[in-house]
Assembly symmetry: C2
Homo-oligomer: 218 residues x 2
């Protein structure tokens, strides 16, 4: 059995506390279903929020250098970050405007992001980020050169303080509103892959690779 | 013609500057296509990033109180925020791992969020947030009571400093990699509404409302 995350004053869900989840498995499941996170950090008193690809492995999040450039300006021992992942599952259409909502699953991880310096660890982090984006693609393509590895910043955030918020199910209306002749329910939203579009610059025939054929998201 | 946002030292896109967009129309179009934003703020030195429903109207963003509780603890004259909106359009599958990417459109708005106090302005902000979630629903359902209005926090962020990052099109590989026998292309992702699910607690027959029938997202 894995240990839950004890809610801290910083991760305790304040609003709609009934939606709070501190269970490690549940939190990791949400993280693993997503491939984009939003990384928040503060620089010069100003908060910044940057979307980037990521992956969880064990008790850590790895994310890509695309978020790092502004962060890295004031980095040395690490940067305090909030990594937030959000999956929107449905619109919740209540009988009253007030009870309209979304069904969603979101995770907030508070921690310190450090730059991965070790070559092996960086390569492995890139592999898991790639694998989280599209499983199996890593083995189909040209591997990174030493120069490319050097040019890529990868950050690591140990997951020590985390919480999730989950809403599921139908709307919850005020008791008296159930007598109103208003349609209520949920409108599920899903993200699906469409037909792959081959690069017009392809110079030879190439079959659709297994990674794309098997792509499972949505 | 609308004025572009002159890039500031804080909104200038540092990495992949070729993807930067400061054009107001383009930025507003991205904001208007989304209904969830990620709001970043700093509290006690710790950044927080919280997903919430929002809408843009004119040169301002309005978002819902669900993000406000932790923010409001240290609010009076306003809270410095970063509001980030991200639309993921496709996976970009290159011939090399290094050039793998996403096609995406993201906007970052830096500004000060203040709580809307005025009743009329709050009601209008809630209406536009609702309208951005699902057009026309507001007029189909029970309107907010005075008590509900009071219980709802709505924040406003004037859009003064903003930038977008947009990536479109096929992968861009290194010249020599185009000779590799590797399938390259993009895998488009779209979000679609599924069949609506009626609330099992419905007490009467009600036709599917126009707002759900016409729901256009995806």
């Amino acid at each position: 059995m894995s240990e839950p995350f004890p809610p801290t004053s910083r991760t305790r869900v304040v609003r709609e506390a009934n939606r709070a989840v501190y269970d490690r498995e549940a939190i990791y499941q949400i993280l693993d279903e997503a491939f984009v996170c939003h990384v928040g950090f503060t620089s010069g008193g100003q908060p910044f929020v940057i979307p980037t690809m990521f992956a969880r492995v064990g008790d850590a999040i790895f994310f890509h250098g695309s978020a790092a450039s502004r962060m890295l300006r004031n980095l040395s021992a690490g940067v305090r970050v909030c990594v937030t992942v959000t999956l929107v599952d449905a619109l919740v259409l209540a009988r009253s405007i007030f009870h309209h909502s979304m069904n969603y699953r979101s995770v907030m991880v508070l921690g310190t992001a450090t730059l991965i310096e070790d070559r092996g660890e960086k390569l492995e982090a890139l592999r898991v980020i790639s694998d989280n984006l599209i499983h199996g693609r890593w083995d189909e393509v040209r591997q990174p050169t030493e120069q490319e590895l050097k040019a890529t910043a990868v950050m690591k955030v140990p997951i020590k303080e985390a919480s999730a918020k989950i809403r599921t199910g139908p709307p919850k209306d005020d008791t008296e509103d159930y007598d109103l002749p208003i349609w209520a329910g949920v409108l599920p939203l899903i993200t699906r892959a469409q037909q792959p579009v081959i690069d017009p610059a392809m110079r030879m025939k190439a079959d659709l690779p297994a990674s794309v054929k098997k792509y499972g998201r949505g």
